[in-house]
């Protein structure tokens, strides 16, 4: 028998269940990551630190971007062309670009952003020094006029690492380049939106998916292509203790560690729920930097003797250990990249102490102790200086290794005082490969005396090669210039590359889609 009451109740029950189901909140996909450092500064143009570069890639977008094969591809730019005389570059932005506050991205914004970036970045400075002007044509188009043909226009605008030319709204980009932008100005047009209200320095920084972002149609490759975001929210958790990071990953409290310590990798490799991924196959390069103004390193023959005395494998074994994560590579512009070459390198980096000793005698080395700064608090750098000391002493150098924390070293390396009075002769550091892909980009090749980076090498020939490289538009000729430069540089070194190494990221098995790129990016990453 039909019962109205029962039917009504059934309908109500069904409706309420349906309603409940409809109202049930869908669990937001949150990716929890421990990066190599906490984000303290929000302006990726103000500083060259890598954590700010990574933060930049979350919030802001770039005009061009480098793909997996080191080719520069348009990103915010829809189309570009260069005049027949190679002097005028015209760029047109693609449709639908919007800042996170809903305003459209305009050519004016881009011009202001390029100017601010160029005030801080060495490649940008070189670009603008060669430029006659940068002007807005219309809302979506701007022109860059060069004084003479310049071979690094796209490489500059698509520079993958610090400082990356991120595009910012005009109002933000007009901030004094020597001042940090304000927290309320962290508004980009990139694939993620920075959550200012949830940023707690020392605890976490939060980004949510930019639902209005229109990715390019091309598949992602390196830093280029479609930036499709597959999670709702990304949290970078500040966790300073390396052992705690591992525990948190193993227990599933976090999804990923950007750079776990090499000594802890065997622990992670044994865990079936975790996998290691070398997301940056060009990796990093250890570098020994001379103070070329301090005796005896003002003598190129003495510097060359160090080059002859060094052997890369000892440095790499002492710091990285497992050969899976390092590579002996003599090419200063990094093995596996278009400008990698061994030209001129046959007689150096072979650990030839006898030859080095002979060179030192010829150079008239008087036994001045070499003040070698040794940083003790960064695990990836700590063991480098003792190896350098041992190899140099074998070749006849007297070495005074001075131990200090990295920040003390950073402060001391900019001092031009005599080495025995607060200055220095040498120290070791590491570069991300993406920062040293060519002689203009690689800061330690800058040999413009006082304008060069600390170490202040002064070599007109190297500068001539760098200028030639910048002006050359033919890639084959650029490569030839690099080979010629390298052959000269080996005898007049500004620094020494002491090996290539890799820092895999560790992630739980339910995380997929990390891109192979010089900087860790979080579009395309999904969580199952």
């Amino acid at each position: 028998m039909f019962s109205f009451r029962k039917s009504a109740l059934a309908v109500l029950a069904a409706a309420s269940v349906g309603g409940l189901m409809a109202a049930a909140p869908v669990q937001a996909q949150t990716l929890k990551v421990v990066m190599h450092s906490d984000v303290k500064i929000l302006d990726p143009i103000w500083t060259t630190a890598y954590i700010q570069r990574n933060h930049g890639y979350m919030v802001w977008d770039t005009l061009f971007a480098m793909d997996e094969k080191f080719d520069v591809k348009p990103q915010m730019v829809d189309k570009y062309d260069v005049s027949a005389d190679k002097l005028t570059w015209t760029f047109t932005l693609r449709d639908g670009l919007e800042w996170h506050d809903g305003k459209p991205v305009t050519a004016e914004d881009c011009v202001a952003s390029i100017k601010r970036w160029a005030a801080r970045d060495s490649m940008g400075q070189k670009l603008m020094a060669s430029a006659e002007g940068l002007e807005v044509v219309d809302a979506k188009t701007f022109k860059l006029k060069m004084k003479e043909p310049y071979g690094l226009v796209l490489q500059s605008l698509g520079k993958p690492s610090s400082n990356v030319p991120f595009m910012m709204p005009k109002k933000t980009a007009e901030t004094d380049p020597m001042q940090q932008i304000k927290i309320e100005d962290v508004i980009g047009s990139g694939p993620f939106v920075f959550k200012a209200d949830e940023w707690k320095p020392g605890e976490k920084i939060v980004y949510v998916k930019n639902t209005k972002y229109k990715p390019r149609a091309e598949p992602p490759s390196g830093l280029s292509g479609g930036k499709v975001v597959k999670v709702d929210r990304v949290e970078w958790i500040a966790m300073p203790d390396a052992q705690t990071q591992i525990g948190a990953l193993q227990s599933g409290e976090i999804d990923m560690i950007e750079a776990p310590g090499h000594d802890l990798l065997p622990l992670l490799a044994k865990d079936k729920n975790i996998n290691l991924l070398n997301g940056n196959p060009t990796g990093n390069q250890y570098t020994f930097r001379f103070n070329s103004t301090a005796k005896p390193f003002d003598n190129t023959k003495v510097r060359h003797a160090v080059f002859v005395a060094f052997a890369q494998e000892d440095f790499l074994k002492a710091t990285i250990g497992d050969p899976q994560w390092f590579k002996v590579c003599k090419a200063p512009f990094v093995c596996g990249t278009p400008l990698a070459t061994d030209a001129g390198m046959a007689d150096v980096l072979n650990g030839n102490a006898a030859k080095a000793k002979q060179l030192l005698t010829e150079a008239g080395y008087d036994g001045t102790p070499i003040v070698l700064m040794h940083s003790t608090d960064l695990q990836v750098l700590t063991n480098l200086a003792p190896v350098a000391k041992a190899q140099m002493e074998r070749a006849g150098f007297k070495v005074d290794m001075v131990s200090m924390d990295w920040q003390t070293l950073v402060a001391r390396r900019v001092k031009k005082d005599p080495p025995n009075a607060g200055g220095w002769h040498a120290f070791l550091t590491s570069w991300v490969a993406a920062d040293i892909l060519n002689p203009v980009m690689a800061g330690f090749f800058n040999a413009s005396c006082d304008k060069a980076m600390f170490g202040w090498p002064c070599d007109a020939t190297i500068e001539k090669f760098r200028d030639q490289f910048a002006k050359e538009t033919d890639p084959a000729k650029q490569k030839q210039i690099v080979e010629d430069l390298q052959k000269y540089w080996v005898d007049h070194p500004t620094h020494i590359n002491v090996g290539q190494w890799y820092a895999p990221l560790a992630r739980r098995n339910n995380i997929e889609g990390n891109l192979i790129a010089p900087a860790p990016v979080f579009w395309n990453v999904s969580k199952k």
Binding site: E203, P240, S251, E253, V410, F454
Partner: protein, 313 residues
């Protein structure tokens, strides 16, 4: 009493003045340059020099000090060199985890250490006494971070009972807060328990030999009453003193414990500020710790009067 408190509060001023001058000078004399840290590894010397100028670090040291102390006297502790936030704002964000850790640790440590110290004294020479003394030696000797890692391994990774790290604010989720406080408090408590239980044992032992304890026993009072009402109360002053002194150990221990357990507290803020040479933050945090230390000692002094009526200020 009020006169005593007022005098002690006024005495804070010269203490803070000395701390301020000392910290300021120490920081300026320590090697390191915040501008170089801010500029990053790829920066040129010119860029670093520009940032130094913007931060006012090129001014003579006494000018820098005068500006800073002038601002502090107006309640302005300055802006962090790194975060675009005022130091007061940063400290306000970080104070809760440290306060929570300190309170949980104190509560746990006092609750455990005083009874075991009393019992160890009462049963001097017994297995319990030896165990307590053995534990206290161990508690003093094993570094906090080792205890922390062991606890994480057992309770978070192997058993999965508690989270490895992190902090949830008490107002957001009480249980989440509590479960994230257990391991850090336990870690920090170990040294504290060792210290207090040892002092409690020694103080109670001394008191147990007094005539009035014998009298109390002769009156037929139970052991519990003798111990709690007569022995412990009379032994309380040195115990309270040690608890007060222990606050300093607690502040130092919090630096390590907060790093191991990923707690975003003042201890970690201090470490981060020191490593990056964030002068305004370091100066303010140390001033704050000094105030806390002085005030806690004042409170301990006042609390003596509760246990020993002979003490008058």
């Amino acid at each position: 009493m009020l006169d005593f408190i007022a005098r002690r509060l006024i005495a804070i001023i010269p203490v803070l003045a000395v701390v301020a001058v000392f910290v300021f000078l120490m920081l300026r004399l320590t090697p390191g340059d915040p501008a170089a840290v801010i500029a990053g590894d790829n920066a040129t010397s010119d860029q670093i020099a520009d940032i130094r100028a913007k931060l006012g670090l090129n001014e003579p040291i006494w000018t820098q000090f005068a500006i800073w102390i002038g601002n502090v006297l107006q309640g302005n502790f300055g802006e962090s060199f790194f975060f675009k936030k005022t130091v007061a704002e940063l400290i306000a964000q970080r104070v809760e985890p440290t306060l929570a850790l300190a309170i949980c640790t104190l509560l746990f440590a006092v609750t455990v250490s005083v009874p075991i110290g009393v019992m160890a004294a009462y049963r001097q020479g017994s297995l319990l006494d030896r165990a307590v003394m053995g534990f206290s030696v161990l508690g003093f000797s094993v570094p906090g971070f080792v205890i922390g890692y062991c606890l994480i391994y057992v309770f978070a990774i192997e058993l999965g009972w508690l989270p490895v790290q992190g902090y949830i604010r008490i107002g957001v989720n009480f249980w989440g807060f509590l479960e994230r406080m257990i391991l850090p408090s336990l870690t920090l408590s170990v040294g504290f328990i060792a210290l207090i239980s040892r002092i409690t044992r020694a103080s109670v032992l001394e008191v147990l030999n007094e005539d009035y304890i014998r009298t109390a026993r002769a009156k037929g009072l139970s052991n519990r009453v003798v111990l709690m009402r007569h022995a412990l109360r009379n032994a309380a002053v040195p115990i309270l003193t040690v608890i007060g002194l222990g606050i300093a150990i607690l502040i130092g221990g919090a630096v390590v414990t907060e790093s191991v357990f990923g707690l975003p507290g003042l201890g970690r803020l201090t470490v981060e500020a020191v490593l990056s040479r964030d002068f305004p933050t370091i100066q303010t945090v140390i001033l704050l710790f000094s105030v806390v230390y002085v005030v806690i000692n004042l409170l301990i002094d006042i609390s003596y009067t509760l246990f020993d009526p002979r003490i008058r200020y």
